[in-house]
Amino acid sequence: MDAAVKSEGKSRLLRTHGLLVWYNGLVVLLMAGFMSITQEKIISAMAARSFLATIPIVPLPTAKGFSLAVGSYVLLMLLGSLCRRRNLSNKNLYFVIMAEIVTCLILMHSLNLGYDGVVLVVVADLMFRYQGKNQGWLLLVTMLGLYFMASYNLALFQSHVAPFDAYAAYYRSDVQAVLWAIKNGLSSLNIIIFVFYMVLLVQDKHDEKERIASLNKQLGEANDRLRAYALEAEHTAETRERNRLAREIHDTLGHALSGIATGLDACIVLVDAAPEAAKAQLAKIRETARRGIVDVRRSVKKLRPDDLEKLPLRQAVEKLIFEYSASSGMQTKLVVLGWPKDLRPDVEDVIYRIVQEGITNANRHGQATEVVITIGTEPGRLYIIMADNGKGCAELKDGFGLRHMRERLELLHGRLRYWNDKGFTLEAVIPLGKAGEQVEKQGDEHI
């Protein structure tokens, strides 16, 4: 409904502008026609010499003057419609406006300043494109200039045109009175149309402002709603994840542990009476524990980072480094001196997390611009050294990130060292099995 009202207002504005333009065209046609016909009459009445004596210039020949007036008005209309195009660049707009003003002056001159209403057509176009403060002065200057140039009383211009009076003076005095009445009537009607147009234009601009304000408000509200929804969604995801973890723990660890507990109860009873049976029972319990471990591994696997899930560790680490340096602007270099084969997913996970945490720290806390990551293997272990050129760590106390790293490494019987040296250097060592694989037993115990 709002849009309907708006478009109706717009079309009323357009119609009024059309009326202004065509009305002025009609008046220009009438004025030019009147002057041409009068000039012809003066010639045929042999009053040319006395007519010339009453005017300060030699007017244009009839046909020329008429076609100049009509032609320049047509040009003015074209420029006006060009000026109203929305897709006009600012530079072009100024050019079109200048051309319009010049055409308007030519037109007024060709009408011997007998009709200055066309100025209002130009002003209407200018007002239409009025955009704000920076154009205010331009508009003011232009309008003042046009007004002064149009001002009939300006002596400077009066001495360069053949005034309407001189043409009117050819006729009888009663006819003259009628001519003046018509001329003044035409001018007044033009002003009325112009004022009406301005009122509509101001109303239109006002409506538009209101519409934009209300749209702004709606947008703000939608934004707030969206933020609340995002929070809620996050919360829901967290809850769902917790539930899943709980279920997972319940299904895997819970199941295995309760099985182990029950089996151990049986063992306690059996251990004295039937040590053999107890042994057999313990073997079963071990089986249960192993199954439990497998289940837990599977669960943990579900929680791994996405890249690690899809890519081999080396590519995942390279991608991580590349993306981070691309996004942070920090120069990151990866030096690989040896790469262990067949790593377990949890070890891969720890390596990935250490690299991730290390470069994050280097950038965030050390404000380093360059970091070199060296990964290599020695018999029975793997080491990661990350050296940056940042400001280092003043107190060398375990931050959250470092504690996290240490905890992860301790689970694998690894160790973490760090020191300040032209920046901050961090070294992580992870023990490995002989064939690049960790000792089964150790790994089993420390998931």
Partner: protein, 431 residues
């Protein structure tokens, strides 16, 4: 891009076609002038001089035609010219009537000649009589060149003076000499109690003022200069002349019958009525000649000249050629010489008037004028003024005529009467 290029090519093509059409079209210049003499005397072939000038011009500028409309009477010319301007068909080069000169110059209809003259090394404005050249100026700018001019001289009835035993006055005579002769010749010859022989006919206050060093109006045409001592001298002199005639008005018939000793006469009239056909017809009963006007106590034997002006339309498309044509008519010495043989005027160029062959040509064209020395005429031309030509000057002069005529007859107190006239004319001029 492609479309833009095509448009560009089309534009270029059209431009070339238009340019070549413009460059190759035959050029035609139009000249505007009237039939008959500029100085209101009968004239045989009024286009003879123009025809000769056109012939010279077309020979020098091949591919250019010069045309003119013939048969426009002098009385209709001003209106005709105004109509042409309103229609936009005004000629490129045309005679500018003195009364219309200010009008056209002020309305920008005339081409400012300095634009062409200042870059034309072959043109030197100082060859013209200064007053004739200045007649074509408006606000110090030259808008028209003089073709020819005629000074006003004093006609002397030689037969009458001989009969009265009076010698013909010298060219440096004064009002005093003039008045003495007038007194001597004014009398009743047939004894009927009425004066039938007179001193002067048609001698107006304007001519008297002129020879007493008075300029009627200020340069801008806003005030009159009629209330000073010199003007009082003029009026006193006019009253004396009036008294000598004892209130009797001299008629043109008295003059034609040889009963008047003096009459101001234009050079054109002199040239027209001196040679054979007109002499027989008009002034057959007496011998006559022309001398300079008598000088007033505060003035000289100066004269009033009436130049004939030609200008170029500011809207002419061929202003360069128009300037060349104007130069051919007004500046070319050979064409200027034709003023002496083809018209009743005098060339506007001093060097042409003063050249030895000019006198011969003049004597040949004006039989019976052997005593008229062109050197003397040239002196008159040098010491001459031109009539005012601002818009309301004619009306103002008519107004002054009436008022002064009254003063001369009534013999009022001169200074107060004059300041009254001055006031009235100023009021008129400043309306």
């Amino acid at each position: 891009m492609k479309r833009g290029f095509a448009l560009y090519v089309v534009f270029l093509l059209l431009f070339t076609v238009a340019l070549s059409w413009y460059l190759t079209k035959p050029k035609v210049l139009y000249v505007g002038l009237f039939a008959g003499s500029n100085w209101d005397v009968p004239e045989g072939d009024s286009y003879a001089m123009l025809e000769a000038a056109i012939e010279r011009f077309e020979k020098e500028h091949p591919g250019v035609k010069v045309k003119y409309v013939s048969g426009i009477r002098k009385d209709d010319y001003s209106e005709w010219l105004a109509e042409q301007f309103l229609k936009g068909t005004e000629p490129d080069v045309f005679v500018v009537p003195g009364a219309d000169f200010d009008l056209y110059a002020a309305s920008g209809a005339l081409y400012p000649l300095a634009r062409s003259a200042s870059v034309d090394a072959s043109f030197d404005a100082s060859v013209y009589y200064k007053s004739a050249l200045d007649y074509g100026k408006w606000q110090g700018q030259s808008y028209a060149l003089p073709v020819g001019a005629v000074p006003t001289l004093m006609f002397v009835n030689k037969s009458l003076l001989a009969r009265e035993g009076i010698a013909i006055p010298a060219n440096n005579w004064t009002w005093h000499d003039f008045m003495q002769i007038c007194r001597a010749v004014t009398r009743d010859t047939d004894g009927d109690g009425r004066i039938d022989q007179f001193g002067v006919y048609d001698y107006t206050w304007r001519i008297a003022a002129l020879t007493n060093g008075i300029k009627f109006f200020s340069a801008d045409g806003r005030t009159a200069n009629l209330a000073d001592k010199k003007m009082e001298e003029v009026l006193r002199f006019m009253q004396e002349i009036h008294e000598v005639n004892q209130g009797q008005e001299v008629q043109a018939k008295d003059f034609d019958m040889g009963k008047v000793a003096f009459r101001p006469f234009t050079f054109a009239e002199y040239r027209t009525y001196k040679p054979y056909p007109w002499r027989i017809k008009k002034y057959s009963s007496f011998e006559w000649d022309c001398i300079k006007l008598p000088a007033g106590p505060s003035g000289r034997n100066s004269s009033l000249i009436q130049p004939m002006l030609m200008g170029i339309s500011a809207r002419s498309h061929e202003q360069r050629l128009a300037w060349e044509l104007l130069k051919t008519i007004c500046y070319d010495p050979a064409v200027q010489e034709l003023m002496l043989t083809k018209t009743q005027g005098l060339p506007a160029r001093r060097d042409v008037v003063e050249s030895p062959q000019a006198q011969a040509l003049f004597n040949e064209a004006t039989p019976g004028s052997e005593e008229m020395n062109l050197k003397t005429v040239s002196e008159v031309m040098d010491d001459s003024i031109t009539p005012s030509k601002f818009a309301r000057c004619l009306e103002a002069l008519h107004l002054a005529d009436n008022k002064l005529q009254h003063i001369i007859r009534e013999k009022d107190s001169l200074s107060s009467a004059l300041s009254q006239v001055q006031k009235e004319i100023n009021a008129y001029l400043q309306q």
